[in-house]
Amino acid sequence: MKTFDYHSPKDVKEASKLSSSKSVFLAGGMTTIPSMKLGLATYKDVINLKGIKKLSGIKVSGKIVKIGATTQHAEVAKSKELKKAIPSLAALAEGIGDPQVRNRGTIGGSIANNDPAADYPSACIALNAVIHTNNRSINAETFFKGMYETSLKSGEIIESIEFEVPSKSNYQKLPNPASRYAVIGVYVARFKGDNVNVAITGAKSCAYLDKNLSDALSKDFSTSSINNVNISSKGINSDIHASANYRANMIKVYAKKAVEAC
């Protein structure tokens, strides 16, 4: 690995100040460190955010769940409060990577990285999340821009993510047999007033809200309503693990599983 300067700032301001076009913020490092090792990314400065106390923790207040950016997947998975408020989100965290990855990887890191097959982005979209940074608040829908691309600007740090508590929700994923990332993942969330969000991950350059599925389930929250939705394989990812056609079909299969489990 190429050498760099390591920093461990104590607050967000200091962290932001240290950043430049040649720096990277480090949270869990689950993607950053391997890509640095493989020479896919090199940085002059690595700025570790884990020393910033206020970035970690889970808070449930009424219809809002707020999770600090450096909260590890294992903490999200275990949180009793969260299990009560949004059990599907805790279950999603329990399904990320393996126990060691969950002990290190963070929600903020996952969202900032925006891997097309990551789990959390679908939760953010389905649960009308607001991503709070040191400068502003961004709606999930506009936050995820494309493959590994978000609306975060240079020096901008995610501080926390706020999720809206749904009345019912469930996340189902078809894992890639090798990496265990999502080949496709479907997050179904139903809110008061019967509005339903269906967010998909793994299928395109990044997670997205599937309008057709959301509309159909908002009208009639049943597996049969999914049958009538046409999901085209156009624009859907295709790789050695799954063709676009298979993925498109699995979106429906897994959407049904999610609805059944709601």
């Binding site: 460190i33 640095m36 690595v46 126990p99």
Partner: protein, 153 residues
């Protein structure tokens, strides 16, 4: 260079390290604790699992600088007064290892499982070990060993 203070297997250690030293390299190359192995170096195989502040992590994917102030336990730190840990004993009894290369990570991961779940069933053991690849054993005797250790711990 960075100076870090850590406790490794019960011993307090202060060392100067390069900023980009990863934990596995710190353990193997600087402390000569070569029981922690590197199988893939990209956090997929699990041969490098150690405990940091009581939790299992993949030491190839953590910067040593980031571990400053922590307590680390490696496979070398499990044996107390010449007596192996019940998990180590169980692996021996059930032939839960063959070439031995994945074994340190497997044992460290399995011990963390029992911290989280005192009496896991087969399925729970197999699911937990998702991050540890073994090419020799077909996992069956590992599962048997973890069950045995659970009954002894």
């Amino acid at each position: 260079m960075k100076k870090i203070n850590v406790e490794v297997n019960g011993k307090k250690i202060t060392k100067e390290i390069s900023d980009h030293t990863v934990l596995s390299s710190f353990l193997r190359d600087i402390l000569n604790l070569t029981g922690t192995h590197i199988g893939c170096d990209t956090s997929q195989c699990g041969a490098c699992v150690v405990h940091v502040d009581g939790k299992s992590i993949k030491s190839c994917t953590a910067f040593a600088a980031d571990i400053d102030g922590s307590k680390i336990t490696t496979i070398e730190g499990l044996t107390k007064n010449g007596k192996m840990h019940p998990m180590q004993e169980a692996f021996k009894k059930h032939h839960g290892l063959q070439c031995g290369f994945c074994t340190p990570g497997m044992v460290m991961s399995a011990i963390d499982l029992l911290k989280n779940n005192k009496n896991p069933n087969d399925r729970e053991i197999r699911d937990w070990l998702e991050g540890n690849i073994c090419r020799c054993t077909g996992y069956q005797n590992i599962v048997a060993a973890v069950k045995e250790a659970a009954s002894k711990m």
